[in-house]
């Protein structure tokens, strides 16, 4: 298992304490085991922040993650009803799309590597380029063998394309020779001809050869024969113009013809041409001599197949692959992880391919998406597993979990969890609760996602957390909004009480906008309703709509909407209304007010009345007086006939 060095920590002096975080982990120096007296201990402890490699890759592979997400979603939603050929064509297209995204990312990375001044950064980018290249190589092979499931005939052509695309070491050499003034005089001329032959690029090989012969007319006869042989070589066709058997027959004849010319010594005087003829005959030794140009055993494999078994069947590949690797490596070097993966593919051991890739690659992107695609091709048997219902889900869960450590890519992770039927939801619930809600916008974004998925508990929890945070920072309006959204009546009550308390202390409301526009959410809690109505009372008073204000004020007490503790304040609020020039409260209303006041004051014991401060007693007295005066006035007013 990989070892991470924690710089400066001394394992002989201290132990390490570990804590998981959403984006990273923390490690702290400590001393366990010093129990007993509890004396002593580390004088200073350092804190280490540990991030997974994944995070570095996330930065550089961001585009890959974003674009492949689109392809993934498209695949999940694609038409399953399409059967047979059209479905297969659809899946092959998906595979090609993934590969083009990988290539685009490679290109970007390559540019970044070139322009990087810092050698460490340059090295990082270059490494990334080679990893992506390996990924595309493997994916491409899987596409040919598994997704397209190319049959004998087309199989070879696909493999040839594959090799041509990925063996780039020789490209520079080819370019150099072709662009020189006199290619046939170039010292690497024959190497390039060989490269073309090894890759089955007959036309290009013939073209180059023609240049050589015009420079060396003496070999014109030899050349004509070789050229002819190369022109006539039968290759499998993609269209249905010939059957496999027909092709095999033609090939057999052609092979025998080549054999004759070789044995006749036709090419004896030109070792280069002779070697080419041997290659055409599929002579392993001759091909192996060109090891430097082949560069890889899988190139050797495909060349071998081209010139000895062009109609190779998929299931036969494994034998040729194993022997090719053995012959090519020749016991000098042992297979590397990439080789093992490719071999597993040639052996059609899909699970092995995925397993090896999981081990070799440090991020889950590749195996998750490839496995998902293979699963859609109905190629994976499903095992019932402990983590995730099957390998596809297991890998997708791993990949998506990794995305959650990123401050914005986590949103992609949500969609991946959506498509994991067994554990996707619970993973989403766990991860989404841990997203740091640094801003309101982020919290709203997370909420929307939860609401869309009926994750009620998470909605409630997030709103509660935000409400608490707002309350602690004395942002009452924000706290109230959040508790309304959480439908948290208890909290709404608490915050309304705070508003009211603030009002009592300061004589004004904060967050008027919010309270004025509560609408039906006012009904969430009685206290909240009171708050809203009380504010309405103040508004009416401000607009000089006194009789409406008066009615509302009274109703708040008689309908028991106002908490008892607040009645004194309400009655005090009634004072200015009582002292208006115009009579506002009707007789009946005045009696009601008096009743409320008595209700309040009779509840108290003598001792309480004694302890009440003078301001309180004075208030009560003032109220009694004002109410009495109002009563007097209103009786007269109501008793007076209009117009008299």
């Amino acid at each position: 298992p990989p070892l991470l060095v924690v710089p400066g920590a001394d394992p002989s002096a201290r132990q390490l304490c570990f804590a998981w975080g959403p984006a990273e982990a923390l490690v702290c120096e400590t001393l366990f085991g010093s129990r007993g007296t509890g004396e002593g201990g580390p004088s200073s402890s350092r804190l280490f922040v540990v991030r997974k490699d994944q995070d570095i890759y996330i930065q550089t592979l961001r585009k890959l993650f974003n674009e492949s997400h689109g392809i993934f979603i498209g695949l999940q939603r694609s038409e399953e009803e399409l059967a047979g050929k059209s479905r297969k064509a659809q899946l092959v297209q998906v595979s090609k799309n993934y590969r083009s995204v990988i290539r685009a990312c490679m290109e970007d990375m390559h540019q970044a590597a070139i322009s990087a001044r810092d050698p460490a950064l340059h090295s990082q980018y270059s490494t990334q380029v080679s990893i992506l290249s390996a990924m595309e190589l493997i994916w491409n092979l899987c596409e040919i063998l598994f997704v397209e499931a190319a049959a004998a005939g087309p199989l070879l052509l696909r493999l040839l394309d594959w090799v041509r695309l990925h063996v780039c070491d020789v490209d520079n050499m080819v370019r150099e020779v072709l662009s020189s003034e006199n290619p046939s005089k170039h010292e690497l001329f024959w190497n390039v001809v060989d490269v073309f032959v090894l890759q089955g690029r007959m036309d290009e090989a013939r073209h180059l050869l023609s240049k050589e012969v015009s420079a060396n007319p003496t070999s014109v006869n030899m050349y004509k024969i070789l050229d002819d042989l190369m022109k006539k070589m039968p290759v499998p066709s993609l269209s249905n113009t010939q059957t496999l058997t027909e092709m095999e027959l033609k090939w057999q004849h052609w092979h025998e013809e080549c054999q004759r010319y070789l044995q006749d010594g036709t090419f004896a005087s030109n070792s280069h041409m002779e070697s080419i003829c041997k290659i055409l005959l599929g002579d392993e030794d001759a091909i192996l001599e060109k090891k430097e140009l082949l560069t890889t055993w899988y190139h050797f494999l495909v060349t071998r197949l081209l010139y000895s078994h062009p109609t190779v069947k998929p299931m036969e590949l494994r034998f040729y692959a194993q022997s090719s690797m053995d012959l090519f490596l020749g016991g000098e070097s042992s297979p590397e992880p990439l080789d093992t993966i490719l071999m597993a593919a040639f052996e059609f051991e899909m699970h092995q391919v995925i397993k090896e890739c999981s081990i070799a690659l440090s991020n889950w992107w590749f195996v998750a998406h490839l496995t998902d695609l293979l699963d859609h091709c109905k190629l994976l048997q499903s095992h019932n597993l402990y983590f995730g219902s099957n390998m596809r889900e297991f890998l997708l869960l791993e990949y998506a979990s990794g995305l959650f450590s990123h401050h914005s890519l986590w949103q992609l992770g949500v969609d991946y969890f959506d498509h994991c039927p067994e554990y996707g939801r619970v993973y989403l619930e766990l991860h989404i609760e841990r997203i740091p809600l640094n801003t309101e916008q982020k919290a709203l974004k997370v909420l929307r996602i939860c609401e869309q998925r009926q994750m009620h508990e998470q909605v409630r929890s997030i709103c509660k957390i935000m409400a608490m945070k707002a309350l602690r920072n004395n942002r009452l309006g924000s706290a109230l909004s959040w508790s309304i959204r959480a439908k948290d009546a208890a909290f709404a009550t608490l915050i309304s009480d705070r508003f009211l308390k603030d009002y009592c202390e300061r004589g004004s409301f904060s967050d008027l906008d919010l309270i004025d526009n509560l609408g039906p959410s006012m009904l969430l809690s009685d206290r909240l309703t009171f708050l809203g109505k009380y504010r309405e009372f103040h508004r009416l008073y401000g607009e000089k709509r006194f009789s409406e204000a008066a009615r509302l004020l009274l109703m708040l007490m008689t309908a028991r909407i106002a908490p008892r503790s607040f009645w004194m304040t309400l009655l005090t609020d009634a004072l200015p209304l009582l002292e208006q020039k115009e009579v506002i409260f009707s007789a009946e209303q005045t009696y009601e007010l008096m009743r409320c006041l008595e209700d309040l004051t009779t509840g108290k014991s003598d001792k309480q009345k004694f302890q009440e401060d003078d301001v309180e007693t004075m208030k009560v007295e003032m109220l009694r007086l004002a109410l009495a005066r109002n009563l007097a006035r209103v009786i007269i007013k109501e008793g007076t006939l209009e117009g008299s």
């Binding site: 570990f18 804190l47 991030r51 081990i359 945070k469």
Partner: protein, 325 residues
């Protein structure tokens, strides 16, 4: 004077120590966070025989600019007569509740009935475990099928073969916690214990830090209908046991999906354990100090390092490298 420190991560991703204050008059053994639904709340426990609950007070704006925060003590729990060795908040669906355990073998469960008033805690349960306790873990499952459950570990050192891990379950009928299970195979002192997040499974997973790392599954069997009303019986299996630390294992903790377990050992290492899709547990990483002093300044003592997974020739040695600030 025994201090606790709180570190905050700022917007640009840096960690800063925003508070450092005297919490106890003896070594502080553990510090734990309450769920953010209850605000910014911490609990600590100490050799000084107390546990305390702390709340962050939003200070003056000056403090915020200086990056400092204030913590005030809301309550001190003084019921224990010996060192309080662990304190853990219960899962949030149980309200604002916490459990402490002490060296004299008593587990106490407290509740704050009014979550807005952190100074009022009432002692709801006292569980006598008969062995000196070192650690506790609440079962995080909020499923209706599972009663509240707490695992208690003991580091009792006297030579005996008593089970050092006990499972207590809340009985709805008696309204008390009763011992449901004891892991008889764990007879060495236990230093830490942790239930894994539930993920909707019917069974529970428990990690134990003892002379090695052990992972158990507890599968509830049909509740026995005894006279005291159903106490769950469990089928216990050990799914992993690792002695790679080659020394006492002090801490175990689960990641948020319960897919990776981190263990800290006396060998100064942290090891990470993960199950593959075939349910085989393996070590997927090791963190270890190299003992060499760090070059350059380290005012805050924070170092960034990256942890990679298996390294092969598919990529160069980017893994296992560390960068310090």
């Amino acid at each position: 004077m025994y201090f606790s420190k709180v570190w905050d991560k700022s917007e640009n991703g840096d960690w800063h120590c925003t508070a450092s204050w005297k919490t106890h008059s003896g070594s502080v053994w553990r510090v734990t966070w309450a769920h953010p639904e209850f605000g910014q709340v911490l609990a600590s426990c100490s050799f000084d025989r107390t546990a305390a609950v702390w709340e962050e007070i939003v200070g003056e704006s000056n403090d915020k600019l200086r990056g400092q925060s204030h913590w005030v003590k809301r309550t001190t729990l003084v019921d224990s007569r010996t060192s309080v060795t662990d304190v853990k908040f219960a899962p949030k669906h149980m309200g604002l509740m916490l459990a402490t355990c002490s060296a004299d073998g008593v587990v106490r469960i407290y509740e704050a009935p009014d979550v807005m008033n952190l100074s009022q805690w009432s002692l709801q349960h006292e569980i006598s475990c008969k062995l000196s306790c070192s650690c506790i873990s609440w079962n995080p499952s909020s499923s209706r099928a599972h009663s509240p459950m707490i695992a208690v570990g003991s580091d009792d050192n006297s030579p005996n073969i008593l089970a050092k891990v006990q499972i207590y379950e809340y009985n709805e009928n008696t309204r008390k916690y009763a011992k449901a299970e004891a892991l008889m195979t764990v007879t060495d002192p236990v230093h830490d214990i942790a239930f894994a997040p539930n993920l909707g499974r019917s069974f529970h997973i428990l990690a134990v830090a003892t002379k090695d790392v052990r992972i158990f599954t507890l599968k509830p069997l049909r509740k026995e209908l005894t006279s005291s009303g159903g106490l769950t019986k469990f089928e216990i299996h050990i799914v992993a046991q690792f002695d790679n630390h080659n020394s006492q294992v002090w801490r175990v903790s689960w990641n948020i999906t319960g897919t990776v377990l981190a263990s800290s050992g006396d060998d100064g290492c942290v090891r990470l354990w993960k199950a593959n899709y075939m349910d085989n547990w393996k070590c997927t990483g090791i963190l270890k100090g190299n003992g060499s002093p760090v070059n350059g300044s380290s005012q805050q003592g924070i170092f960034n390092a990256s942890l990679g997974s298996a390294n092969t020739s598919l990529q160069n040695s980017l893994n296992g490298s560390s960068a310090s600030r």
